[in-house]
Amino acid sequence: MSEYPKNLMYTKDHEWVKFEGKTAVIGITDFAQSQLGDIVFIELPEVGREVTQGEGLAVVESVKAVSDIYSPVNGVVVKVNAAVEDSPELVNEDAYGDGWIAVIEMTSEDNELLDYEAYARLVEEEGGH
């Protein structure tokens, strides 16, 4: 049973976003990590990189699959989670907490995010629970 914290926003590509003032913390959802299986490598973006919504932000690799993580917002990467580089399993163990991936300082408010109810419906449509 996947969780969908109510204080987060989501993308249809299974990223989550937590807004804190002008910044957005980004990670992948519990459903995403469970679909990927054991995560063994994460390629983080460089701090200072400008990203636009929908652009590749990071790469998450499980034993079998390579998956792109897309930026849910427009902005500049201001912080990355070095801990997941050394211990990628943190994303499996705590997708919404210690498994966060990057913090983006937003340059615009534009986004196409889903709230937790809409995201839960999307997961259900994709065969998750």
């Binding site: 590509d13 679909q35 299986g37 063994v40 490598f41 390629e43 690799e61 034993v63 079998k64 994709e126």
Partner: protein, 373 residues
């Protein structure tokens, strides 16, 4: 996030409902619906290395070859010297095209000089069957594709013998490596048991009638409980064989890769009488190999994957055939087919990962070998 595989018209093995019962995540592989994992690839990988895991390998194909010319036919068909096998012995061999490219790699089970069982890769069954039938012209042999009526499970890991011994009166320690015993009762069912596998661990492969597969599966899961048995999926089957550097058709071997290039020269008996590929392989050996298979460790950051380019000073010198995180070793390793002059232990290479060169170094194969008792 993308990459979910679509389920199509693929076939179900006789153990399909067991996989669903055990929570297996089902994917399509070689035309079959099989579990890529149950508890998780890493956990299952370690269970097989340390305890015992049970795999459904019913997707593998089986072809019986019988008749007075069975041996002569196989000597023509296969690169290895089948005449060296005795009853109860198993031999690995590539099966080549005349140009030295590989049709498939397979196991030959010698029942008698006029009766052999060939075990072939699932994805190649139709192609292999056509090739075998075509090549059997002029030989007094009968070929019979028994793939659909035969189920196969692989019990792998250091506790495999103790697990299986609980279900049979046959003394399993009498079955040596790459040997088999036919007509053994396992859990009251008639089976063929061989000491073989695709994991680098000790273990057995058990062939049975499709209708007996579920009972044998359940009996093995129950017998192995005290040893920590778990069902194991295709995901760890691949990481286990990769660490042991066993080739996988479509990766280390293909119609475009010869067994010599893949480092399988010891399974090519160039001294025996004519066989498919003999002239081409003899010439390749005499002229020297232009490319060779190597093992490498990624020393920079990243995981090499199949098909990634291998570079040296920015110039492409080859291609990754398999790359993965190696769970037992704890490093990102790979196999690659590269220009022969670079195939030297300690050679620095770059693997092109997402358009960036990442440092790697040629290392010794296999990456993992189990300690003999």
């Amino acid at each position: 996030m993308k990459g979910d595989e679509l389920l199509s018209t693929a076939k179900k093995t006789p153990l399909y409902t067991k996989h669903v019962e055990h929570g297996g995540k089902i994917v399509e592989f070689g035309g079959w619906l099989l579990p890529v994992q149950y508890a998780g690839i890493l956990e299952e990988h370690h269970i097989v290395r340390e305890k015992v895991g049970l795999f459904d390998v019913s997707h593998m194909g089986e072809v019986m070859v019988t008749g007075p010319d069975a041996l002569a036919f196989l000597q023509k068909l296969l690169t290895n010297d089948v005449s060296k096998t005795v009853a109860g012995q198993i031999q690995y061999s590539p099966m080549c095209y005349p140009d030295g490219g590989v049709v498939d790699d397979l196991l030959t089970y010698c029942h008698a000089p006029d009766k052999y069982l060939l075990v072939i890769n699932a994805a190649n069954i139709d192609k292999d069957w056509a090739w075998m039938v075509e090549n059997s012209k002029g030989y007094k042999v009968e070929l019979s594709n028994i793939s659909d009526s035969t189920a196969e499970v692989a019990l792998q890991g250091p506790m495999a013998e103790k697990t299986l011994q609980k279900l049979t009166s046959f003394k399993l320690s009498d079955i040596g490596y790459y040997r088999f015993q036919d007509n053994i009762e396992v859990a009251g069912k008639k089976t063929l048991v061989s000491r073989t596998g695709y994991t680098g661990e000790d273990g057995f492969e058990i062939y049975c009638a499709a209708e007996d597969a579920e009972e044998i599966w359940d009996a093995l899961m129950e017998a192995g409980k005290e040893f920590g048995i778990q069902p194991a999926g295709l995901g760890c089957r691949d990481t286990l064989r990769f660490e042991a550097c066993m080739p996988l058709y479509g990766h280390e071997l293909s119609a475009q890769i010869t067994p010599l290039e893949a480092g399988l020269g010891k399974f090519v008996a160039l001294t025996k009488a004519d066989f498919n590929g003999k002239a081409a392989l003899t010439e390749q050996k005499e002229q020297g190999l232009a490319r060779k298979l190597v093992g490498f460790a990624v020393t920079g950051k990243g995981i090499a994957r199949s098909e990634y380019p291998v570079l040296s000073d920015g110039r492409r010198i080859g291609t990754v055939t398999t790359g993965s995180f190696a769970p037992t070793i704890g490093k990102n390793l790979g196999l690659a087919l590269i220009e022969a002059s670079y195939a030297v232990i300690g050679q620095s290479l770059d693997i092109e990962i997402r358009n960036k060169p990442v440092a790697a170094e040629v290392i010794k194969r296999p990456f993992y070998s189990r300690k003999e008792k």
